[in-house]
Amino acid sequence: MTTAFDTTGLERCIHCGLCLEACPTYKITQLETESPRGRLHLMGAIADRRIDLSRSDATVLHLDRCLACRACEAVCPSGVPYGRLIEETRAAVAQARGISPLGQLLLWSVSRPWVLGAMNAVLSISERTGLRRLARRFLSPRLRRLDALAPPVGRPQYRPVQVESPRSSVALLLGCVMRASYGDVHTATARVLAHFGVEVVETPDQACCGALHAHAGNKEEAIRLAKRNVAAFERADVILVNAAGCGAHLKSYAHLLEDRPNWAARATALASRVRDVSEFLETIAGDETFGELAMRVTYQDPCHLAHAQGIRAEPRALLSRVRGLELVEMANADVCCGSAGFYNLAQPDYADRLLEPKIDAILATRPDAVVTGNPGCMLQLAAGLRSRGREGIPVLHLVEVLDRALETR
C-alpha cells in the first residue's frame, strides 16, 4: 500500500530541467534518476499510485540518495518547494517501510542529550586509553566509517559568558551534536556576542531541533521536538542558531506545525525570530572590524545556510572584517560536501564521490584553515582532509575565527 502524502507545490514543476546542473548527485552521475526533476517526477508517480513504495526498492534508493541540500530549490524559477516535498515523501516512505535500525538508533540518541553525553564520555575515555585505536582494527567497514565521522571528543563544554549591563539579549539553540561535541563553538559565539554587548539568556527547556528526524521521515518525533522548542523559546526576542541545518529547520517550524490548531500561530511567530549567527552579527556589527588574524582561509557554504536560508554574503562579509585574513574562494563553494545528516553513513559511496572533488577544491586554494557554519560540514570536511593526510588544515566554525580575531584586540 502506498501512503498518501501532501504534494502541495509539486504541480508547479514544469520539467524544465533548469535545476539539474545545480544538483550534486546529478553532477556526479548525469542520471535523470538522481536528479531533482526525476525525483519530483517519482514523487508524483508515488502520489498517483503508479509506484508502490512498499515494493519498489529502486525508487526508494533514488529518493534516499537525495542529500536534501535544496540546491535545486534555490535555483528553481517556478518556486517548487523541494525541501518540503522530499520531507513529506520520506515520511511516506518511513510509514510504508519503516526507518532502518541504524537510522532509528541515531535518531533516538540525538534527541536525548544524556545519550550523546554518555557516548562522548565513553569515546573520550577509550581515546585516552588507546582502546579506541585498538577497537578500530576489529570494526566492520560501516562501523569504521561511523567511527571516522563520530563527532570529536574532548572539546570543551559550553561555558556561558557574563555580560555587564547588556544592551540586548538573545536565546541560543544548543542543539544535539553541537551541545555534546562542539560546546566550545557555543562559548565562542557567546564571547563574540558579549563583545557587542549582547547576552545569551539560558533556555533550559530547549530540545534537539528535530531536523534529522524530519529529514529521515520521522515526522511524529519531529513534531514533538518542534512543540517543545516553540514553548521553550516563546519569550526570546531572537533565537540564535549557529548550526545551519538547525536554523533552516527552526525557520520551517511554521510549516511543520501548520495543521496543529494550538501551535500554528506560535510556530510562525517563533520562526520569524530565528536568526543564523552570521545574519545576526552582520546586522549588529555596524562598521566595526574584528581585530587581526593573518590567515588564508576558504569558505564552504553549508547547504542549509546558502540554499535553504539564502545566506551567502553575510559570512563572507564578516570574514572580510578581520584584518589580515585572506578569503580565497574555492570552486563550487556552495555544492554539498556529502555530509547531509546521516547521508555519509547511509550512502557511503555517493558521500565519498561528493567529498573527493570538494577536498580537491579546498586544497587548490592552499588554505591555512577551512571555515564553515554547520557541525555536519565540519565533521565531513575534517574527515575528508584526514583521509588525504591533511589534518593539519583545521576546519573552523565562522564564530571561532571571529572569536580568535577579537582576542587580538
Binding site: I14, L20, L31, G38, G79
Partner: protein, 473 residues
C-alpha cells in the same frame, strides 16, 4: 537487453519500469516511458548499441538533457532511449582557427565558458543553455535571444559526426569549410534525431565583442513596444538581441528574481547591441532616440555587467517563473512576419480570453518569433481544451503567413500540423530525404512528419491529430 549491458555496462542500462518513468517526459506535454534507457560512453558504444537495436528491429530515440519543448525525446513505438549524458567531453578548442570540437552531451553553457576562457565567443544562447546539450541544440536548430544578430545553431555548426540508424559512423564537414560534394550539415542540423545520433560536433567560435550595451525600455502597452522594435530594425541597426516582455511576465519575473522591473509597465523591450566601442556608442544613441520617439516612457541602460547578467538571467529563466502564476503552461513558438505581429498578438490574446486562460508573452520580437504562453491549472482545466486553443493560435499565425516553429522544433507536438504549411509534394521530398538516412524508419519514429501511427497510444497525440485534421478547411 543483455547485449546492451554487454556494450555499456550494467550501471549504464535502465530497464525497471519504475526507473523508466523518469525518461517519460521532456519539458513539453507528451508522456510515454521508453522500453529501456542506455547511456553509452563513446562513439563506438553508440554505434554498437544502434547496431544491436537495428538487428532486433527496435526503434531508437536520441536524448540530450530533455529540455525539448516539442516532445522530440518521447519514446514512441517502445523505443530505446540513447542518452548522451556520458558524452560530455570538450575535445578541443582551437583558438587560432576558432573551432571547438565537442561531444554531444556537453551543455551549451560549458562551451560558452570554455570559449570565453580563451577569449572567444560561442553565440547560440538558448534560454535553456545552462542545461540543454549541444547535441540537442544541433538536433533542434536551437535559437536564443542573440540569434537575431548571430543566427540560430545552423550558422555555427561546421561539421558533425553521426551514427546512422543502421550503425555506420559517418562524418560531414569539420575544420575545413567548403568540402566538395553535398553539404549535408545543414540537413542534419534541425533533423530532430530522425536521421541518426550526433556523436561529435565542430562548432564555429567568434571573437568576443569589444563592447556590450543593454537597454530596458518601458512602454504603456504591447503595441507601442512592437512599433518601437520595428522602427529600430527599419533604421538599419541590428541589435544583438531584442526581447519583449508583457505585464504578466514582468510580474512573474519580479516574484522569482530580484530584478525590480517596473510593475506598472504595459510592456518592456530589452535591447542589446554588441560590437566595437565606437559602433556601440553610435547605435546606443540612435536606439535610445528611436525608443523615446516611439513612446518609451522610460529608457534605462544596464550600468554594470552584474546588472546586465541579472536582466538576462531573469529573461532566460523567465519561462519557468511563469509557473508562479499558474502551475501549468503551454508555450507556443510560431514565427510571423514582423509587420503582422501586432495584429497576430491581438488575435492570440482574444483566443486566450475566449478560452479563459491567462496569457503571458515573452519573446524574440526582433525575429518575429512569438512565444505566447497559455497559463492554466491542469487540475481544473482539461488539457484537451488547451490544445484546442493552441491549434487556433497556430492557425492565426499560419494565416498571417507565418511558420509553425521558430526554434523549439516540430517533434511530436506539431507534427500533425505540418501539412498546414507544406504541400504533399514538399512533405514527400522531405520524407525521402529522411529515408535515405533511415530506410527502416527506426530512428525517432513518429516525429516531425504528420499522419503516422507510431505514437497513437499517447492520448495528447491523438487529440492533436484530430484537431489538425479537423480544423483545416
Amino acid at each position: 537487453m543483455r547485449r546492451l549491458v554487454e556494450i555499456c555496462g550494467d550501471e549504464n542500462v535502465f530497464w525497471r519500469a519504475e526507473d523508466l518513468l523518469v525518461w517519460e517526459y521532456d519539458a513539453g506535454f507528451d508522456r510515454r516511458p521508453p522500453s529501456a534507457v542506455v547511456l553509452p560512453g563513446t562513439t563506438e558504444e553508440v554505434a554498437d548499441v544502434v547496431r544491436a537495436a537495428h538487428a532486433e528491429g527496435a526503434s531508437i530515440v536520441p536524448r540530450g538533457a530533455g529540455t525539448g519543448l516539442s516532445g522530440g525525446t518521447i519514446a514512441c513505438a517502445d523505443a530505446i532511449v540513447v542518452s548522451t549524458a556520458r558524452l560530455r567531453r570538450i575535445i578541443s578548442i582551437d583558438r587560432v582557427a576558432r573551432i571547438a570540437v565537442v561531444e554531444p552531451g556537453v551543455p551549451n553553457l560549458a562551451v560558452t565558458a570554455a570559449a570565453r576562457d580563451v577569449g572567444l565567443f560561442f553565440a547560440p544562447d538558448p534560454a535553456s543553455q545552462r542545461i540543454s546539450t549541444i547535441g540537442g541544440n544541433v538536433a533542434t536548430n536551437a535559437g536564443g535571444p542573440h540569434a537575431l544578430r548571430y543566427g540560430s545553431m545552423t550558422n555555427h555548426v561546421l561539421g558533425v559526426e553521426l551514427v546512422l540508424p543502421t550503425g555506420e559512423c559517418v562524418r560531414f564537414g569539420g575544420e575545413v569549410a567548403d568540402l566538395p560534394g553535398y553539404d549535408c550539415v545543414p540537413f542534419i542540423v534541425g533533423s530532430e534525431g530522425t536521421v541518426g545520433i550526433i556523436t561529435k560536433v565542430w562548432l564555429r567560435l567568434l571573437p568576443l565583442p569589444e563592447d556590450v550595451r543593454t537597454f530596458v525600455a518601458v512602454f504603456a502597452d504591447i503595441e507601442h513596444g512592437a512599433r518601437a522594435a520595428s522602427a529600430i530594425i527599419a533604421s538599419g541597426v541590428v541589435p544583438a538581441a531584442m526581447e519583449m516582455l508583457d505585464r504578466v511576465t514582468i510580474g512573474a519575473l519580479n516574484a522569482a528574481f530580484e530584478v525590480h522591473l517596473p510593475a506598472d509597465a504595459g510592456s518592456l523591450l530589452l535591447v542589446e547591441v554588441e560590437g566595437l566601442r565606437e559602433e556601440t556608442a553610435d547605435w546606443a544613441t540612435s536606439i535610445e532616440r528611436i525608443l523615446r520617439k516611439n513612446g518609451a516612457t522610460n529608457v534605462r541602460s544596464a550600468e554594470t555587467a552584474a546588472e546586465r547578467e541579472l536582466l538576462w538571467k531573469a529573461r532566460k529563466l523567465g519561462y519557468a517563473a511563469l509557473a508562479r502564476i499558474r502551475p501549468n503552461n503551454y508555450l507556443h513558438d510560431a514565427v510571423v512576419p514582423r509587420t503582422k505581429m501586432p495584429d497576430v498578438l491581438r488575435e492570440v490574446n482574444a483566443i486566450a480570453e475566449r478560452y479563459g486562460y491567462v496569457i503571458a508573452n515573452m519573446f524574440h520580437i526582433g525575429d518575429g518569433n512569438l512565444h505566447p504562453v497559455l497559463l492554466f491549472d491542469a487540475r481544473s482545466q482539461p488539457i484537451d481544451r488547451v490544445m484546442e486553443a493552441s491549434a487556433e493560435i497556430l492557425k492565426v499565425a499560419i494565416d498571417a503567413g507565418g511558420a509553425l516553429s521558430g526554434e523549439h522544433g516540430i517533434g511530436l507536438e506539431k507534427n500533425h500540423f505540418m501539412f498546414w504549411v507544406f504541400g504533399p509534394e514538399d512533405l514527400d521530398a522531405q520524407r525521402r530525404g529522411r529515408e535515405a538516412f533511415d530506410p527502416d524508419g527506426t530512428m525517432n519514429p513518429g516525429k516531425v512528419f504528420p499522419g503516422g501511427d507510431a505514437c497513437a497510444d499517447i492520448p495528447t497525440e491523438r487529440t492533436k491529430r484530430a484537431l489538425a485534421e479537423g480544423m483545416w478547411v
